[in-house]
Each structure stands twice: as structure tokens, then as C-alpha cells.
């Protein structure tokens, strides 16, 4: 079976290589020419060309890849995917699709109607709301933030407003000829409600409920093009011959902030031709509450990143480009750079200083039903109901008609479907070898917090089970514990048992960026500059509230329960190692001033006792590494069966915790009747029955003991001689030995 498989694979490979011989040759010659200086990614361009050719060939050769799996791409290996079902927005006589990022609405217009779909929750079954508008050309459509007004740009000098309830209409025109309209967007800043960008600058209008527009302010700038995203509330106006000069404004709830003017970087070419930056080359990216701008520099084949501060724009380094066409998405605070020609996506985490990608470039995958991406049943099911879905043949990855919407949506203009990009955290973690940075990475994930959490637990378990060096495990534990401690302090973490997650995302009045800053390791910019970072609206808040868990943080108790307790059984012979790891865990917890389930102490005692490390057990107890508690004391007593010294530790702990009843019972059990009696008398412990002493003494078969205790009791307790207990044991005593006098 296996051989047959490999044989077919070999022949397939042969055919593929025959088809892609040119690309293969290119790649080979590139490697050969640079063999002396060869390093990773040196011939990546050639490699990607070869790869896409091969992928293409495979697709041709097996037109129904869903026979074994419902995914499109190079096999199932990918880190990002789009998933069936998509949001279908196919309206007959559609004249165009628009996306209103402020309201997260997908808008489809016909000659007289506006269909809008909510995409925030991304429910494919959502039905559109329909509004009628007068006929006319439509360049762009945006709903007001309260969704009461629909604004439609009709031409380069006219915007029309339609009130959805009152059906009121208003037309706003700009001076024709001298300036032209570039676009507009709604704002929630206290100053203005609407911003209109023209070639001569930006007009800010206030709009009242009766739809009266009042010009509030005008920002005079020569504008070639502009970009705006609602999640950053940032508008960038490009001017200059090469469109390199950027003026930025943030229209946040705190007011309108003007950013310092800055120049984008463009590599100069040998010829005199000056490249021009277009609006499509610049993307606003919002990750971890920070605002970045990424700009394509085709000449240098680099993607430059800039970070925005309130009064500075700082270039943050560049990422390589492997494609002439490029777009970006942001999923869960990660930057996904789609190398459209190469049909791969590279994931970057801008949180870390290193600009190395999170994972290797891999294609975007199309998946069938959720969670059954590789099961044949899902595929067959899908085939049975072809009308309900876009069948896999129709999907061509990175088609020209694909539009990338902020932050994580892909609009397929041809098929009139909307996809949302997902990350495959499992695949990413499976392909990462550095577990510590992987854990850090996973702990930063919010979208699929539960999955990230489970993966983290799995990694932690695996690290221990694989018996990795303690230093490695320690680092991993430190990552998890600090992440938890941080999320508790930031108020993100909520216990699972609270059921309804009411986690609040820290408000964006500078507080959350500050926290982020505290966590960011070595972001030197932050320290250099005193000013507060740019305010950022928490656009994704609703999204996060919907997910069950808001944070992948793992509490120490969960770490104990799902990691330590679960590996204990399998690590019976490695208790030394496990104790070392637990010690590190406790150290980490104590450094963060956290508490942990006391069962971990009980477990530590068990492990130490199992490997007969009684001296250390005593050290652990006296130094309070093992914190005293009743459970701990009882475990000490139990483990003390092998070593009386350990038993004493348990007894001492009981006494110190004033657990009188247990202390007295243990003393009696050890045969210290008189001490126990004396203790009971002194502490006035009444919960211990006198029969306990008598029974224990009787069980010890030492009649002298029994006699002594009877005597003491009858002197201590008035009227004891009249009780039935006295008679019983006195009788027993007389029966067994008449020689002992009471």
C-alpha cells in the first residue's frame, strides 16, 4: 500500500517537474551560482516561482482535490485559511460591492437599492437589510456611525445623504473644477461627524439629526490620494510628486490630532524614472493597540513599516517582498502579508523586535466545514449539496478580483463572496521549534483564546513529558506565569467558572497602550519618547467579547491541574525531574506574587517521599517552600510512614496550624497518650472523645497504658467514673489483667 503510494508520488513528481522545467532550472541555477554564499531565502524568489508552478500543475492534474480533502492549495499545509461557508452577497443586477469598515458592513448596490450585510459577527446566514435610494452613479457608500444616514458619493464633486427613517435627502457639492472629491468617511470625534477629503484638503463637518451639515474646520493640504481606517481613526493624506509626503490626522474621540508630516522611503532607481506611491501601496495596520503603516517599495522589494506615536512617526524596519503584488490582513494582532503572485502568505508578529516571520511562507488554504478539513465525509457532504456552497473548483486563490478588506476580510468580486481569514494556530505551533517564543506567541492570541490556551497546556505537558532540560521548561513556565500575572493585572483574565464572560478590554484612553508598553521587551522607541502613544479605539472589542475566553492566560491552578497533575502518573520514575520543575514553577509563581492550589504541595511531598528525599522534604517544609496547610500536614503524616522524621514534620505542622483534633488523634496514633491528653487539657479541646484515648490504648495491647489513661481521665473529668465508657474499659482491664491496679 505504502509502496504503491510512493510510486504514484514519484511519477506525479516526475510529471510536475517536466511541466515546470524552466522554473526548476532557474531555481537550480540560482542555487548553483550562489553555492558559496548560500543561505536561507537567498533564492526564495526562484523557489516561489517553481513552487507556484508545481502547485498549478498539481491542480490541473487532480481537478478534484476534495476527493481526500476539501482544501485547496499545496496539500493541507498552511498557517492561514479561509473557511466555508462564506458570506454570499450575490444580488442580481449588482452594480458594485463596497465595504464600510466603520460599521463593518458589506454593501452591494443595484441601481436603486442598497443591500448591506453585517460582517462583524461573520454569520454567513445573515440576511441583508435593504434600503432604496434614488438612481444614479455610485462611487462609494458609507453608513453613518449610528447607521441612520447613508452617504453615497455620486461623482468627484457630489455626495448625497439619505436618511433611512425620514427619507430626507441632502446633496453636498464641492466647487467643481478647482477641486475634486477624493472620498469621505464618518467620524466619532467630538469635533466633527463627517470628514470629506478633497484634492485641496480635508473638510470636517458636524451633522445634526436634521442632517444639516456645518463646516467645522478645513485642513489645507494638497492631496493626491488618502487612506483611512476606522479602527485606527487615522487618515493619511499623500502629497508631492511621488506621493511620498504624508500628512496624518487622527480623528479620535479625544479630538483631532495632527501628526507630524513625514516622508516615506522609496529606493531610487538607476534610471531617472521616479516611482510613485499609490494608495494601494500603503496600508494602515492596527495590532496590539498600536498603529503601524506599511508601505510597499517595489524597487527595493521591501515592505517598510512605520509606527505612529502622537508626535512622531518612526520607521521600524522593513520586511522583504517576494511578489510584485501584495496585500496585507490583520488577524488577531498578526500581520499577514499576502504575496499574491507567489500565492503564499507570510505571518509577522510586530510585537517582537525581530522582524523574522512567525512561520515559513505557505499558501492560504480553503477549508470545507469547520473542524473537518481533512475528513472525507465533509467533502462528500459538500458534494451532495452543491448549491449551498461555492465548490472548490470555483475558488482560485489570490485571484485578481480579490479585495483585501480591513482588517481580516477578503472579498471575491468574481464570485461575490466574502471570506474571513483565519489563523491555524495548531499548524503554526506544530511548525515552530522554539517552544518558548511559541508560548509567548500563543499567549498573545486573543481571537481563539481557548485554542491558544489548550495548545499552551499541550506544549507545557509535552516539554515535561519529553524531559526537556529544566532550563527550557523553566523558561516556558515563566512565560505562562508572567502572561497570566499580566492579564490578571490588566483585568483581562476571567475565571472560566464565571460562565458569562464579562471581560472588559482595557479602555483606550492611553491605558492599554501603556500596559502594552510595559510588556513590550526592548521597544526602545517607547523609552526614548515621553509622549503618550496614539489613542486607539478598541474596534475589535465586540469581537472579543463574543469569544468564550478573552485571554489564553493559564492560571497556576490550571497549570497544576492540566500539566503537573496530569503528568504525575507517567513520570513516576522521574520524580526528581518533576520536583525540579515544580520548584521552578513555585519560584515563578512566588516572583509574581500569585497563589496556587495547595494540592501541588501535596504532590511535591508525595514525589519527594517517593524518591526517599526526606532531608530535602524537611528543607522544603521548614523553609515554607511547601506552604503549611491541613492537607499538606496530612500528606506529611502519610508519607511519614516511611520516615518518622517526616511524620514529626506533619505533627508539628498540625500543631502550628492549631488543628487540635487532628494533632491529638495523630499523637494518640503514635502512642503519645499522655502528651495528647495534656495537650487536650491545656487547649480545652472538647471535640476529642475520651474514648479515642481509651480505644487507642486498648488497641495497643498495653494494659498499663490503658490503666494510666483511665486513671488520668477519671481525675480530669468529673463524674467520669459514672460513665458507661469507664465501666466498659474498666471491665476490659480487669478481665485482661488483674495485676494492674487502677
Amino acid at each position: 500500500m505504502k509502496e504503491k503510494n510512493s510510486a504514484t508520488t514519484a511519477s506525479t513528481l516526475g510529471r510536475i517537474l517536466a511541466t515546470c522545467s524552466k522554473q526548476a532550472k532557474d531555481y537550480g541555477s540560482c542555487v548553483a551560482s550562489k553555492v558559496h554564499e548560500i543561505e536561507k531565502d537567498l533564492c526564495l524568489k526562484q523557489f516561489l516561482a517553481l513552487k507556484s508552478c508545481m502547485q498549478h500543475t498539481v491542480k490541473i492534474m487532480s481537478p478534484r482535490p476534495s476527493s481526500s480533502q476539501t482544501s485547496v492549495g499545496s496539500g493541507a499545509l498552511s498557517h492561514a485559511y479561509i473557511q466555508h461557508p462564506s458570506l454570499r452577497c450575490n444580488v442580481p443586477e449588482s452594480r458594485g460591492l463596497f465595504y464600510d469598515d466603520a460599521n463593518r458592513l458589506l454593501i452591494c448596490v443595484t441601481s436603486s437599492q442598497v443591500f448591506s450585510w453585517e460582517t462583524a459577527t461573520f454569520n454567513p446566514d445573515v440576511s441583508p437589510s435593504v434600503d432604496s435610494i434614488p438612481e444614479g452613479p455610485i462611487l462609494s457608500v458609507r453608513f453613518s456611525l449610528d447607521k441612520k444616514v447613508i452617504a453615497v458619493q455620486r461623482s468627484d464633486c457630489e455626495i448625497q445623504f439619505f436618511h433611512r427613517e425620514t427619507k430626507q435627502t441632502l446633496t453636498h457639492k464641492c466647487r467643481a473644477g478647482s477641486e475634486s472629491l477624493l472620498g469621505f468617511f464618518w467620524s466619532d470625534s467630538p469635533l466633527c461627524d463627517l470628514a470629506v477629503v478633497k484634492t485641496s484638503g480635508m473638510d470636517l463637518f458636524a451633522c445634526d439629526s436634521a442632517m444639516n451639515l456645518r463646516l467645522v474646520e478645513t485642513k489645507k493640504v494638497n492631496v493626491n490620494w488618502y487612506i483611512y481606517t476606522h479602527e485606527s481613526r487615522l487618515v493619511l493624506l499623500a502629497s508631492g510628486l511621488q506621493c511620498k509626503t504624508i500628512t496624518g490626522f487622527q480623528l479620535s474621540t479625544a479630538g483631532v490630532v495632527r501628526l507630524p508630516k513625514f516622508e516615506m522611503t522609496l529606493a531610487s532607481t538607476e534610471s531617472n524614472s521616479k516611482p510613485i506611491i499609490s494608495a494601494g501601496d500603503v496600508h494602515l495596520v492596527t495590532v496590539y493597540g498600536r498603529i503601524y503603516c506599511v508601505q510597499v517599495d517595489m524597487e527595493a522589494m521591501l515592505l517598510h513599516t512605520y509606527r505612529f506615536y502622537r508626535d512622531a512617526v518612526v520607521q521600524q524596519g522593513s520586511l522583504p517582498i517576494y511578489s510584485s503584488k501584495l496585500s496585507v490582513s490583520v488577524v488577531d494582532n498578526l500581520l499577514l502579508v499576502h504575496q499574491i503572485d507567489a500565492k503564499v502568505v507570510i505571518i509577522y508578529d510586530l510585537f517582537v523586535d525581530s522582524r523574522a516571520p512567525v512561520s515559513a511562507p505557505l499558501p492560504l488554504l480553503w477549508r470545507g466545514y469547520q473542524g473537518s478539513d481533512t475528513s472525507p465525509q465533509a467533502a462528500s457532504k459538500e458534494n451532495e449539496s452543491p448549491e449551498s456552497s461555492t465548490s472548490s473548483e470555483n475558488i482560485v486563490m489570490y485571484e485578481d478580483a480579490w479585495t483585501f478588506l480591513v482588517p481580516d476580510l477578503i472579498l471575491d468580486q468574481t464570485n461575490k463572496v466574502l471570506w474571513r481569514v483565519h489563523l491555524d494556530l495548531e499548524a503554526i505551533s506544530a511548525s515552530s521549534s522554539d517552544r518558548t517564543s511559541l508560548l509567548e506567541f500563543l499567549q498573545r492570541r486573543k481571537l481563539e483564546a481557548n485554542k491558544a490556551k489548550q495548545l499552551c497546556l499541550g506544549i507545557a505537558r509535552a516539554l515535561i513529558l519529553e524531559r526537556r532540560p529544566a532550563t527550557q521548561v523553566t523558561q516556558a513556565i515563566d512565560v505562562l506565569v508572567t502572561a497570566y500575572s499580566y492579564s490578571v493585572k490588566a483585568g483581562i483574565y476571567k475565571e472560566l467558572k464565571n460562565g458569562k464572560t464579562t471581560a472588559t478590554i482595557p479602555t483606550n484612553d492611553g491605558a492599554s497602550p501603556d500596559n502594552e508598553r510595559g510588556r513590550a521587551s526592548g521597544s526602545s522607541i517607547d523609552e526614548e519618547e515621553e509622549e503618550v502613544e496614539m489613542n486607539l479605539p478598541s474596534g475589535s472589542a465586540d469581537e472579543q467579547q463574543e469569544s468564550q475566553l478573552s485571554s489564553p492566560a493559564i492560571s497556576p491552578d490550571e497549570l497544576y491541574k492540566f500539566v503537573f497533575a496530569s503528568v504525575e502518573e507517567t513520570m513516576v520514575d522521574e520524580s526528581d525531574y518533576l520536583v525540579a520543575i515544580i520548584t521552578e514553577f513555585l519560584r515563578s509563581i512566588s516572583a509574581e506574587k500569585l497563589k496556587v492550589d495547595l494540592n501541588i504541595y501535596v504532590m511535591t511531598i508525595r514525589l519527594l517521599a517517593r524518591s526517599k528525599r526526606f532531608a530535602e522534604l524537611s528543607l522544603f517544609t521548614t523553609n515554607k517552600i511547601i506552604e503549611p496547610s491541613k492537607e499538606v500536614a496530612l500528606q506529611l503524616l502519610e508519607s511519614g510512614g516511611q520516615d518518622p522524621r517526616v511524620r514529626k514534620l506533619g505533627l508539628d505542622m498540625l500543631r502550628q496550624l492549631s488543628l487540635h483534633h487532628e494533632y491529638i488523634s495523630s499523637l494518640v496514633q503514635d502512642g503519645y497518650y499522655l502528651e495528647a491528653l495534656r495537650y487536650a487539657q491545656k487547649r480545652k479541646v472538647t471535640s476529642v472523645r475520651s474514648s479515642l484515648f481509651l480505644e487507642a490504648a486498648f488497641a495497643s495491647n498495653d494494659m498499663q497504658h490503658l490503666a494510666a489513661i483511665l486513671r488520668v481521665l477519671s481525675e480530669l473529668i468529673p463524674g467520669f467514673k459514672e460513665t458507661s465508657e469507664y465501666y466498659t474499659f474498666h471491665g476490659l482491664l480487669n478481665e485482661t489483667s488483674s495485676s494492674v491496679a487502677v
Partner: protein, 535 residues
């Protein structure tokens, strides 16, 4: 002449006294002693040396004319064979006699008018006997148990380095091997006890100290966790085989992964030779070097049979280089190397010391690392060291690589919390706390104990003797409380409860017994978790 001075009451024979009338035994012993005296065996006219220490094997030299064979060690080395034989003969006689009554534990001590004979059966049939002279000086008042502890300490240190005496005897039945090891070892050890020209035995002045126990540093929880984390790293420095480690800060124990017995031995040795204090004392004006050379001169002059034997070329116990006897207790032989590891040439050039762990019954390599006042003793199993020094340097590299950051952190934490020499001083109290289970003790700093009046110290000494006697009567752990009022109205109080002992001197003359017990009570509650709160 000596016999005439003997009095019956001078004989106190522990152990045997339990089962027989003291008086009757006294008479028997008197007769016994007189016979011995008559044979000239008990003559104690030594050459001004107040101490005699001998080790002998009862299984050897049973035939007439071969008596010398049973002597394994004798100090001072320059006394005549006849004197040696008379001391050993007397001891042997007493042992044989008392064994009749108590076969399991023969005599522990014999008090004569002018001498005390302290016995210690180090290994089956191998006895160590210390004969101390009772001179008129008041300083020469000691507790038998303290002297016995000295013998025990010598023996266990010897075993730690060379293995058991019996094993050395088995290896080389002529006894030359053991003698060649004993002589330098015990002399080096006694050297530590000598002050000026005289040997200073643990007298009543040291009654608030306990030899053969470990003194520990109290750690806060966070510091303890850091230490334990360091221990975890040290544990794994030799790959999969677990290393053991002992960590000291100044002269106090911070952490150990050894059994209490092994810890005590290694701790004792470390404090003697390895800790920062031990290393720096070598360079002080009170030089060990000077004393060491003078001692070796005397030894070279001496013509004792032991030395004659030791000059023979015999395979040494450690098996390093034949003919060379390793002197682990030699002074001034440890220096701190550039990499922080302590080096010595005692075991030969570039050779790593090995010691024997009692609990694990295995030989381990000893590596000592020092950073400021923090001393780490790392014990690497011999199985982990296959390629000799190559593997050793690998382990050292591992320590430097993995543990340096943690060592710095631990040192910093401990220094921050370090209360100085008087950290464990509790004002108004002079105390000694002993935990027999863990072999741990804590006491008032010696500087503070020195402020006590002689009468008080004598009273505490007396008190401790009483407790020793009580304890030796029964094997069982029992609770007791003893209070003694000294001549100067000071209180000496002992409380013993399940393996833990507290001795205390309170010098406030106006205190009533009630005040004194209250003081003990509050001390117990405050510093001992209420362990000694009895009433």
C-alpha cells in the same frame, strides 16, 4: 602510688549501671583496675601531654607477642610502646569486662581521679579511646558526650575520605595501609583543635555548642525558592545522572540534597577547609601554615611504628598514585581558581577529590565552587565521569554555563538578608537548640556566650551532662524539663521533647523559677514554633 589515689566513687560506668548496683560494680572495677595497675598497665606518667588518643582493633593481635598489631593509631606518637600497650590493654580489658553485662553497648566512659577514658566503638571491634588528663585547671572540665562527639567526628570524616577502617584493613591485612592513613589524618584533624602549643578540647566553655550538627541559615520563602531552583540546575549538571549538592553561605548551611549524616560530614569538612572563612583564615596572621610545618617536623622526628610503616610504599586508599598518602585535612591546600572553582593538589596535580557517601554507598567526585561568601559543593557520581578530567571540566563548564546567573542571584538575595555573625542572637537569652532528627543545631553566637559567667556555663555543662545521662538510659524519645539554679543565681534550663532539645542560660539573678520558665515559653513560641511549650 596511682592506685592509692583511686576512689570507688570515681568510677561511673554508664550503661552497665542500669542493670547492676553501682556500688557492687564499683568494687569489682576497683579490683580490676588495681590488678591492671599492678601490672603496670595503667601507668599514666606521660610526657606532659594531656591528651592520648588511640585506635585499636580487638580482632587483631590476640596472641601473645603480637599485641602491637592491634594498635592502629596512637597519639602522641612519641610515647613508648609499653605506654601505648598499657593504655590500650587497660581499655581492652574494660571493654571485655563491660561487655559481659552489656554486649550491645560496652562502656562509654571511665572517670578516674586523674583521667577520663572516653570510648567510642567506631566500627564493630574497632575502638577509639581518648584519655584526657584532669588537671587542676578549672578549664579542664568537659562533658563526656562532647569528647565522644570529637571521636565520632574524626571517624566519620575519615570514612568520608578513605572508606571504613575495616575495609582498609581487609585490603591490606598487615595494617600498614590504615596506619599510614590514620597518622596524617588524625594529626591534621587535631591540629585544628590546638591553640598555641596545647590541644584545646571542647570544654565547658563550649557547652552551648553541639559538634556533629549542622548550622543552618534561615531563609525567606522567596530566597528558598531561588536556592532550590539553583539546586535543580546543579542536580542536572552531569547529564542524566543526578548530582548532589551542598550549599553554604558563610559557615551556614543553605541547602543539601544529602542525608543528614552525609550532610554533617561534608558540612564539617567544608567549614573546616572550603568556605570563604576557611580560605581566608589561612592567610591571616594566625597561620595554619606555621603550625602545620612545626607539626610535620615533630612527626618526622618521631620514631613511632606508625610512621615507620607509613614510609613504606603502599597503595593509597584513593588509588590515585601509589605510595602517596592523601591528606584530605591538610591545611592551606585549597585555593580559589580563576573560574571560581576551588582547587587543591592534595589528591595529586589536577586530580579531583573523591569522597564516600554513606547513605548512597557510592563514591563521588567533589567539586567546590565559590562566589563571594557562597560556597557550592557539587558531588558528581563516579559513573558520570568516564573520561576523567575531561568530563570533570565538562561538568564545571555546565555549572558556569547554566548556574552562574542563579548563583549571582542567590548570593545577592542571601547577602541582602544576611544578619551578620550575630544574626541568631536573641537578646537576654543564651541558648542552644538541637534537632536530633535533622542533626541541626542553632546557638547563641559564641561572642555572646562568652559573656556568661563561668558559674553559669558550669551549670549548663552540668545540666547537659544530666540530660545526656537521661537520654542514654532509654532508647525512647521522651519529654523532660530540667532547671538548675547556679551559684550565681543564674538559671540553666533544659527542655527536651521528641528529638528536639533546648538548653538555655538566663543570668538575671532576680528571676524566679516562674519568670525563667515564662522566658523559655516565650522563646519557644517566638523562635521554635512553640515546640518546647510544654505546660
Amino acid at each position: 602510688m596511682p592506685a592509692a589515689t583511686l576512689k570507688t566513687a570515681d568510677f561511673v560506668l554508664h550503661k552497665v549501671a542500669q542493670s547492676f548496683g553501682l556500688c557492687l560494680l564499683g568494687f569489682i572495677l576497683k579490683g580490676f583496675y588495681e590488678i591492671l595497675e599492678a601490672m603496670g598497665m595503667a601507668s599514666m606518667n606521660s610526657s606532659g601531654e594531656s591528651l592520648k588518643l588511640c585506635v585499636f582493633d580487638l580482632r587483631r593481635g590476640q596472641n601473645e607477642g603480637q599485641e602491637l598489631d592491634k594498635i592502629l593509631f596512637f597519639y602522641p606518637p612519641d610515647v613508648t610502646f609499653s605506654t601505648q600497650l598499657s593504655v590500650i590493654g587497660l581499655s581492652e580489658g574494660l571493654i571485655t569486662f563491660t561487655r559481659l553485662f552489656s554486649p550491645e553497648a560496652a562502656c562509654e566512659v571511665i572517670e578516674a581521679e586523674r583521667h577520663s577514658h572516653v570510648f567510642h566503638e567506631a566500627e564493630p571491634d574497632i575502638w577509639m579511646v581518648m584519655v584526657v588528663e584532669k588537671n587542676k585547671e578549672i578549664e579542664a572540665i568537659w562533658r563526656v558526650d562532647a569528647l565522644q562527639k570529637v571521636l565520632k567526628e574524626v571517624h566519620s570524616l575519615f570514612v568520608m575520605f578513605h572508606g571504613s577502617i575495616r575495609s582498609l584493613l581487609d585490603k591490606e591485612p598487615s595494617g600498614g595501609l590504615i596506619r599510614s592513613h590514620f597518622y596524617p589524618f588524625i594529626t591534621d584533624y587535631l591540629n585544628d583543635l590546638s591553640v598555641g602549643k596545647k590541644l584545646q578540647l571542647p570544654s565547658f566553655r563550649e557547652t552551648l555548642k553541639e559538634r556533629g550538627t549542622v548550622q543552618m541559615l534561615t531563609l525567606a520563602r522567596d530566597a528558598a525558592l531561588e536556592v532550590q531552583s539553583l539546586v535543580g540546575v546543579l542536580d542536572s549538571c552531569a547529564g542524566t545522572l543526578r548530582c548532589h549538592s551542598v550549599i553554604l553561605f558563610h559557615d551556614l548551611l543553605v541547602s543539601t540534597t544529602l542525608s543528614p549524616d552525609d550532610t554533617v560530614d561534608l558540612f564539617t569538612f567544608s567549614v573546616m577547609r572550603l568556605t570563604s572563612n576557611a580560605l581566608s583564615s589561612g592567610t591571616s596572621s594566625w597561620s595554619y601554615l606555621r603550625k602545620g610545618t612545626s607539626l610535620s617536623q615533630t612527626s618526622s622526628k618521631s620514631t613511632s611504628p606508625q610512621l615507620l610503616v607509613s614510609s613504606d610504599s603502599l597503595p593509597s586508599g584513593n588509588g590515585h598514585d601509589a605510595g602517596r598518602v592523601i591528606r584530605p585535612l591538610q591545611h592551606n591546600k585549597w585555593i580559589k581558581g580563576k573560574d571560581g572553582f576551588l582547587v587543591t593538589d592534595i589528591w595529586g596535580k589536577d586530580a579531583t577529590p573523591t569522597i564516600w557517601l554513606h547513605q548512597r554507598q557510592e563514591r563521588v567526585h567533589l567539586l567546590a565552587y565559590q562566589h563571594k561568601c557562597l560556597t557550592l559543593v557539587l558531588l558528581v557520581p563516579t559513573e558520570a565521569i568516564v573520561n576523567g578530567e575531561l568530563d570533570i571540566s565538562f561538568v564545571k563548564h555546565q555549572v558556569i554555563e547554566n548556574a552562574t546567573a542563579k548563583i549571582l542571584k542567590v548570593e545577592e538575595k542571601l547577602s541582602k538578608g544576611w544578619g551578620g555573625e550575630n544574626a541568631y542572637h536573641v537578646s537576654g537569652y543564651r541558648y542552644l537548640l538541637v534537632d536530633n532528627d535533622m542533626e541541626v543545631s542553632r546557638a547563641s553566637p559564641s561572642g555572646k556566650v562568652a559573656t556568661l559567667a563561668k558559674e553559669t556555663l558550669l551549670a549548663v555543662n552540668k545540666l547537659r551532662e544530666t540530660v545526656d545521662t537521661e537520654k542514654s538510659r532509654t532508647k525512647e524519645e521522651k519529654d523532660m524539663e530540667i532547671c538548675i539554679r547556679a551559684k550565681n543565681n543564674a538559671w540553666a534550663i533544659a527542655r527536651v521533647t521528641r528529638g528536639k532539645e533546648l538548653y538555655m542560660a538566663l543570668e538575671k539573678a532576680s528571676d524566679t523559677l516562674l519568670d525563667a520558665t515564662d522566658s523559655v515559653q516565650s522563646f519557644s513560641n517566638r523562635y521554635c514554633n512553640g515546640t518546647f511549650s510544654m505546660d
